[in-house]
Structures are given as structure tokens and as C-alpha cells.
């Protein structure tokens, strides 16, 4: 498992938590349990009635149990995405 996340260290990542929240930030470190340190973290809050909101929340240590998915954020695609007009329901929480 250490190898699976190793390639994402120091990269911008998209983290999807089991409670449905979506964070973006820079992956600074991880361990065997997929506990993760995320720097420059921003929470992305989606809503079907308003444009996406971004809230900066600094450095986070996230427990692996609460992580559903970690994606490599393609910054070019992220820039092209029209978040100002993206009105969607937030992602569903994951019932474990």
C-alpha cells in the first residue's frame, strides 16, 4: 500500500471522505493505514442551489478510516472546470 500512495506525495490531490465531504490539497505524507497529511487544504462545498464554495482550512491529518478515495488532481482540467456554474448535490456519504 505504501507504494500506491507514494506516487501522489507532493502532488495536488482530491480527497473524498466517507462522510461525503470533498477536500483538495497537497499530499504531504501517509502511512500503512492510509492516514494522510494534507497541506494547503481547501474544502469544496457543492450545492444544487448555489455555485461551489471553497473554504481554506490549512493543514489536516486525516484518519485513513474516513477516506474513501484519493485522486490526483489534474490542475489543467481543474482550471478548465466551470465550478462557478456547477450546481450539484454534494457527493453521498459512504455507509460502511
Amino acid at each position: 500500500m505504501s507504494d500506491q500512495l507514494r506516487s501522489l506525495v507532493d502532488h495536488p490531490v482530491f480527497v473524498y471522505l466517507t462522510d461525503g465531504r470533498t477536500l483538495v490539497g497537497q499530499l504531504m505524507g501517509y502511512d500503512q493505514a492510509a492516514n494522510v497529511i494534507l497541506g494547503k487544504t481547501h474544502e469544496r462545498i457543492f450545492s444544487s442551489t448555489e455555485a461551489m464554495k471553497t473554504v481554506p482550512i490549512g493543514v489536516y491529518v486525516i484518519r485513513g478510516e474516513t477516506i474513501a478515495l484519493i485522486g490526483e488532481l489534474d490542475e489543467e482540467l481543474d482550471e478548465q472546470a466551470d465550478y462557478d456554474n456547477m450546481m450539484v448535490e454534494p457527493l453521498d456519504p459512504v455507509a460502511l
Partner: protein, 101 residues
Amino acid sequence: MGHLFYSFFKTLVGQPVTVELKNDLAITGVLVSVDQFLNIKLDNIKVVDEERYPHMLAVKNCFIRGSVVRYVQLPAPSVDTALLQDAARRERQQPATGARK
């Protein structure tokens, strides 16, 4: 079952698979790697029903934690079910990790 499914998934690296999470979100991609916890790494991902889930437009590859996976859909030609059944039978008779029968 010891490392049976870990070994099985390793034979599928390079194949397109669809991972369905426990919250019904489904992601298709090429299987890049798997680990002992059945955490899965996918490349070139496409979220199934992407109009409903534009949240991940900027994500092209991802790591999915094994604990949130409900199903992994595989290409049928890639699976030798007879071999798999055989391996499962052998695991039952001789569990690799000393588990109770």
C-alpha cells in the same frame, strides 16, 4: 481467504474494471495496482453517470480504499472461474494464515 483475492486482482492489472462503492458511486478505469487490503488504484478514470458527478472532472487517476468497495466489475474473458474455484477450494483445505476452518 489469506491472499487469494489479492493474488487474483494482481492478475488483472492492466485490465479495465469498474469499481462500485458502498454509496453506489461507480468508477471505471484501468487497474494499476492492488494491495493486501484490496485498496485499488485506477488510471484514466471515468465516473459512471458523470453528469450527476461532475465533482471529479479534474481527477484522472485515483486510489480507492478497499473498505469502501462494494463490487469490482471485471471483464469476463479475463477471469478463469475454474482456476479461481480451484484456488478457493485449496484455501479452504489449507488456510494460508492459520485461520479456523
